[in-house]
């Protein structure tokens, strides 16, 4: 077989139901579908433009006050609605926090420090794309700065990494491994955690799915919100039916409070989340519980 760069990253390349050559994650007894709600708390500096289009970026002439301020909903009322909902439903989630957003999150520190939830570093800000670093050392400095800012500002562990706007350099994974990061949420290619190899060590790839996110389905594709939620409900029911043969899978749902937290979207979203939480076989997970399920002995599976 010809070796291509991507093929050298993975030992495991299939979830073929009859041949899964990896230890199955240990989810809670009775779990048939693990929903990973990842709440993305991003900063969109008014003067920062990505060098190529990325979903959500400010895309009107400077100063794009309308889009800039709409993104702020994520750090204000949108997040407040989600906070109340999480409290009401009683589930744990992952917060993907960009370090520049932390300055505006002082009112939400108790939420972010709540031990039911877990913190993922989301880079510096939404336009701080990792493809732009001149070399690995510059990228390492930036990653260290983000991790230090989040650890210092939050006072809780940072348990994984998600690169801003899902953009990488050729060195990103190796630099993250060298920086001591344990897990990444940068790959859309699986429904179970798996180990990836880098020249600096092994990372745990936790399932991500940008193409299930509100940013993609509602922001880019303009799907009606009730259709989007109905599609997800059908998908969860499918995973539950599939689980006896295939085992429980992870449905990752990245949400952005400036989108899903808007009042007309939030109301049906809250109804759907309550319904999912009451569905037998559904377990809500976050990066901490995913890592515990994937690495019961503390090492990558």
């Amino acid at each position: 077989m010809t070796a291509y760069p991507d093929q050298s990253w993975f030992d495991v390349r299939t979830l073929r139901p009859d041949r899964v050559p990896r230890p199955a994650p240990r989810f809670a007894p009775g779990c048939r579908a693990a929903i990973h709600l990842a709440v993305c708390l991003e900063a969109y500096p008014l003067g920062a433009r990505p060098p190529f289009p990325v979903p959500g970026a400010l895309d009107r002439p400077h100063p794009d006050l309308a889009n800039w301020s709409q993104r702020k909903v994520a750090l204000r009322e949108g997040l407040a609605r989600i906070e109340a909902l999480l409290e009401d439903v009683g589930i744990g989630v992952s917060f993907v926090v960009q370090s520049q957003a932390l300055d505006e999150l002082s009112g939400f520190l108790p939420l972010l420090r709540d031990p039911r939830h877990a913190i993922v570093a989301g880079g510096a800000h939404a336009a701080a794309l990792h493809s732009t670093f001149a070399d690995a050392e510059a990228e390492m400095l930036a990653i260290h700065a983000v991790l230090e800012r989040l650890r210092g500002g939050l006072g809780v562990p940072v348990e994984a990494w998600r690169s801003p706007s899902g953009v990488h350099s050729r060195h990103t994974f190796a630099v993250l491994a060298r920086a001591g990061v344990r897990a990444v949420l940068d790959l859309n290619n699986d429904e179970l955690p798996f180990a990836i190899k880098t020249e600096a060590g092994t990372l745990q790839a936790l399932p991500w799915q940008h193409f299930s996110s509100d940013l993609h389905c509602l922001g880019v594709c303009k799907q009606p919100v009730r259709d989007f939620l109905n599609d997800l409900s059908e998908g969860i029911a499918w995973l539950i039916r599939e689980a006896p043969a295939a085992g429980p899978r992870v449905l990752t749902l990245p949400v952005h409070p400036w989108i899903i937290g808007a009042p007309h979207r939030f109301r049906p979203f809250a109804q759907a989340l309550r319904a999912w939480a009451q569905t037998p076989g559904v377990e809500f997970v976050n990066v901490r519980s995913l890592l515990a399920a994937a690495e019961p002995d503390g090492r990558p599976a």
Binding site: V167, N188, N230, E234, E242
Partner: protein, 296 residues
């Protein structure tokens, strides 16, 4: 070269085309899963960039990889449950990189047709000789894997040159899926031979409907049922074809797979439907409709 004046004969009405498919069925339905391999860092093409972002475009690349890791197995289980087999639009490199996947289709009796070598290696900009060798090499790789001659072509990533149809014919291809003008089989008149254009139903393609078209799964099911029902009604006058192009990286996701289940259940409710493979559609047309027409 493409001669726009002669490639397609003018439409002359429903009655000029065949009336029924085998067994008196009027509507042919065929599944077309695209089983593709995307390179993370392919050689550049002067006409089209393989990825919208700088290398490594992990966001887009890893989604394609999801199709081969996860989605395809979910789709296969569903096809089996509905008792359906069709024709695989296959990047030939899959035979090397994911032989288990290709073998799973071969074991079930699916047709494999050529979709180029990689979905990141385009025909745009290739010379006629290079293009012919690209397609011949891809067909050889598939034939060596499955032991059956490759007869159909969907150009890789829908990329073409002026000579693609002639190159296909030179490789022994006798039907293609790249032309979108009809819901019935149409002969393509090339200078030296004739090919068949078999409907691939581009607007039912999951990628075009959901990603480019922005449909939810809910509305995608509705589009499929509506198009299917319209063609079912029209098929009383002219034998029609519904192809269903799919991409396991998309339709294999939990939030979309249920939609495919509903579509296939809809197909299975109708007695007048011939669930088949593209190869069988071509065979029927060559033998019953165009028996005297020279073709590759």
């Amino acid at each position: 070269m493409i001669d726009e004046r002669t490639l397609l004969a003018p439409w002359t009405g429903y009655e000029a085309e065949p009336g029924t498919w085998p067994g008196g069925k009027t509507l042919a339905f065929w599944l077309a899963p695209n089983i593709e391999y995307y390179e993370i860092d392919p050689a550049p093409n002067l006409v089209r960039a393989p990825w919208p972002r700088p290398c490594p475009d992990l966001q887009n690349w890893s989604w394609r990889d999801y199709g081969n890791r996860v989605g395809v197995w979910r789709c296969l289980e569903l096809f089996d449950r509905h008792g359906l087999k069709g024709s695989v639009s296959l990047n030939s490199a899959m035979c090397r990189h994911f032989p288990d996947i290709v073998q799973a289709f071969v074991d079930r009796g699916w047709e494999l047709f050529c979709h180029g070598q990689y979905n990141t290696r385009y025909l745009f900009g290739r010379s006629p000789g290079e293009e012919r060798e690209d397609l011949a090499s891809a067909c050889r790789e598939i034939e060596n894997f499955c032991g059956t001659r490759v007869r159909g072509l969907l150009a890789p990533a829908l990329t073409y040159t002026e000579t693609t149809l002639e190159s296909a014919a030179a490789c022994g291809i006798d039907y293609v899926f790249d032309l979108c003008m009809a819901d019935a089989v149409v002969p393509l008149r090339l200078p030296a031979t004739t090919l068949l254009a078999i409907p691939y139903s581009i607007e039912l393609n999951d990628f075009f409907a959901v990603v480019a078209g922005g449909l939810s799964a809910t509305t995608y099911v509705d589009r499929f049922r509506t198009q299917f029902d319209q063609l079912m009604a029209e098929s009383a006058r002219q034998a029609k074809v519904v192809g269903l192009p799919l991409h396991p990286y998309l339709i294999g996701m939990p939030q979309y797979i249920w939609a495919l289940d509903r579509m296939l259940a809809h197909v299975r409710q109708h007695d007048g439907v011939w669930c088949t493979r593209a190869r069988d559609i071509a065979d029927h047309v060559w033998r019953q409709v165009l028996p005297d027409t020279s073709h590759p």
